[in-house]
Amino acid sequence: MVTQLGGPATRALPAPGKSEPPERGTSLTGRIVKIVLLGLVVAIAIWAAFPLVANEAWIGLGLLVATTAVLLRLYLTPRHIPAKYLAPGTVLLIAFQIFPVLYTASTAFTNYGDGHRGNKDEAVVAIESASVTQVPGSLQYALSVATTGDPATGPLVFLITDPVTKQVSAGDADGLKKIDDATVTGSGKVTAADGYTILNAGQASLRSGEITALAVPVDGGAIRSSGLSRAYEGKAGRAYDESCDCIRDTATGNTWTADETVGAFVAADGERLAQGWKVGVGFSNFTRVITDRSISGPFLATLVWNFAFALGSTGGTFVLGMLVALALHSKRVRGRNVYRLLLVLPYAMPAFAMLLVWRDMFNTDFGLINNLFGLHVNWMGEAGTARLAVLLVQLWLGYPYMFLVTTGALQAIPAELSEASRIDGAGAWQSFRRIVLPLLMVALTPLLISSFAFNFNNFNAIYLTSEGGPFPADNPMNGATDLLITYTYRLAFGGSGAQYGYAAAISIFIFLIVGLVSAIAFKRTRAQEEVYA
């Protein structure tokens, strides 16, 4: 097969030295669609620019302006025809392949995960604000937020009423001072005071940050707001000390020193504060994957089953799909289209729901399969039957796809070839084996490889049916039907919360395995194509 791809592009190239009319050969609808789509690009670019400016993300903004400019230039000028064809693919490649891969790779070198999501400043703020407690035996006050100036900008003042003495005081960052001429409600809330403008909730909520930050110093602590209508005397139990780069407990004097290698504040006895931050950890996630006994131990068995599952799902669905396609390819079958329609049904149903339905059908006591055949098999409870069950489910879910693509490929094979072979004396089997199958494989091998790669990482197929089980009694981490992806998901997210860095490192290993298998398979396909093409 000789490809003709070079043809049209060459013809569309402008003649050298001669400027072309810009919209040559484009219909009116085409032009309108082009204007609308390019207009959308510009609109989205402008829409995306606002948050970028707001966040002062100048690099992102530069990237945005540059890509938009390049795209507009590309599609508004008649030149760069090859680039016009390449741009969409390149954009998709960057957006959906290169960017995620780079992002995953960069995450793999950090400890990003639960307890290590933000930066150090955020961890310090979290520790300090979590340590503010009400001073024992202190009072709660009715609070009105007021200002001596303009409601939107004037300096904030807390007007509070002592619940015992009914004394009204005004407090700001300098401290409390008593005021006398204030109107107070029965509950102690100040509704008016000379020289102060009391903010209503709407005005106050516009200055939320300042209100939360305001602490009126008093003996033994500070008066802070609890919402907009109540204040309490609180005290921060822990504070960050820059001189020692540590957190100090004001009551006990204990210190936790910042450890930049683990991204946490650690005490001398090894106790860590829960609120940590994200740091680079070098290759430690990768070495952990390699050295962790709980990974390396069952790794080989899981890998073997993983290959068996991927090959079994792909091979099984292909064989069944192909047999059905061959049967329906024969012109002697009546009502072929009805059959075809019915056979495609499983493909049209959402796999997500079907997997759950199948899981329930395999239930020992209440499942359809045991009831129908009068069996009492604990399908998901034994390694062998659980593996058979997940493969059966895959077979049911996957064969319509194989049936569809094989039908398509079969119709592309000229009937004369089979006829010719029959005239030469070949039987039906020989004709299929020597003529049809090789031609089918040329068309279908790439699809089989991608199906293999998909099934190799078919998380849902396992997670929604057997959940990786059954598990050996002495090892709850690795089950008989676990794929690498479900197994590592459990390792990274099952134990102590989400560990994205670790998960990213594992996924890079899986990527390498799948990539290697696909590369070898594609190399073999190319050899095959050379033979039959």
Binding site: T26, G30, V33, K34, I44, A48, P51, L52, N55, E56, A57, I59, G60, L63, L64, T67, Y75, Y85, A87, P88, V91, L92, F99, D114, G115, G118, E122, A123, A126, A130, V132, T133, N200, A201, A204, S205, S208, T212, R224, S226, G227, L228, R230, Y232, A274, Q275, L356, N363, D365, N378, M380, F471, A473, D474, N475, P476, M477, G494, S496, A498
Partner: protein
Amino acid sequence: MRLRALGVVAAMTIPLLAAGCGGSDDSPSATSPSADKKAGELLIWADDKRAAALKPFADKFGSENGVTVKIQAISKDQQTTFVTASQQGSGPDVMVGAHDWIGNLVQNGAIDPVQLSGEQKSGIAENALKAVTFNGQTYGVPYATENLALIRNTDLAPEAPATIEDLVSTGQKLKTAKKASEILALQVGQTGDAYHLYPLYASAGGYLFGTNASGDYDAKDLGVGKPESVAAFKKIAALGEKGSGALKRSITSDNSISTFTGKKSAFLISGPWAITDVKKAGIKYDITPVPAFAGGKPATPFLGVQTFYVASKGKNKALAQEFVTNYVTTPELAVALYNAEPRPPALTAAFDQVKGSDPDLAKWQDAGKNAIPLPAIPEMAAIWDPFGKAEAAIIGGADPAKTIEAAGKTISSSIK
């Protein structure tokens, strides 16, 4: 033409992508200009049912205070969504969720403590308040509680069983008389269910985490794998598939309630969420505490507490604090949320208001009298999976000692 159009469509993804890059570059500092626009607005996240129930109260709070209150329903993975969104600066001001999230939310700096007055605290059920207390701080305002109890079909079993052994013998009699096909509907499944098994585990003498002097859970004292847990699982194994068959892996979270409503079993161990289905099936039922093993400890279920949280990274924290501490603590809201889904209100005033119209409430409360708050420490995340699998294996007939010791090892290695 088509190719070219496709190209432009694809091209539109570039600006989006660039926006994505910029967003992740420096999200922490993302406050100043957009914050001004958002102020005066309170954003609340809740699950679907509660979002609908909250709406009128949010509107009322908004119009009383001259602010806009927006409610957004988050239907799946609320906790993860909240933590991730908070970190990116696109989270809510107030979050509604279960109390056992607290440990993880605190270590991620996602929620702020609330300071309740003595009066407010005394209005909240004591065990609910204890559940939202973590490291000596109150981290939210509870509004409803939930716990497991024994739901019984009174036509099949008129008397409430005094012990698990009673329950099993009644169930077996019904089975021989062909009135039921299962002894008990307690969800296990192929991977177990630690939450639903816990009352039996506790009654048989097992524990998950010990407590320190101040009554907080101590992650260093892991009870799984200890001799007590082995003894407990020996008793549970006797109820399993190789024993009396009261506990079976074929009863799962999907079919346990329908086994009961389909009259296949006279007993169901479940929570308030099951009652709607039971009522719909028209079954005469009664709710009693989960029975203990004869001569065992009380079968204490876990107490779950639905809670309002103030988000640390919310844009309007003062207003959020006002809403959570001074508005959620009023009974009207708790009653409305009760009407959306019948879980016992945590505010005693609200509970008293609705208990007259719903005789089940007092029964749920009685069943949860000894309930212990679900541990909120982050280490609890390491328990669920291995514990459940060990449970399923033992119920299926595996050796209790070997299995639970292996689970204990797995748990302690992922805690460290």
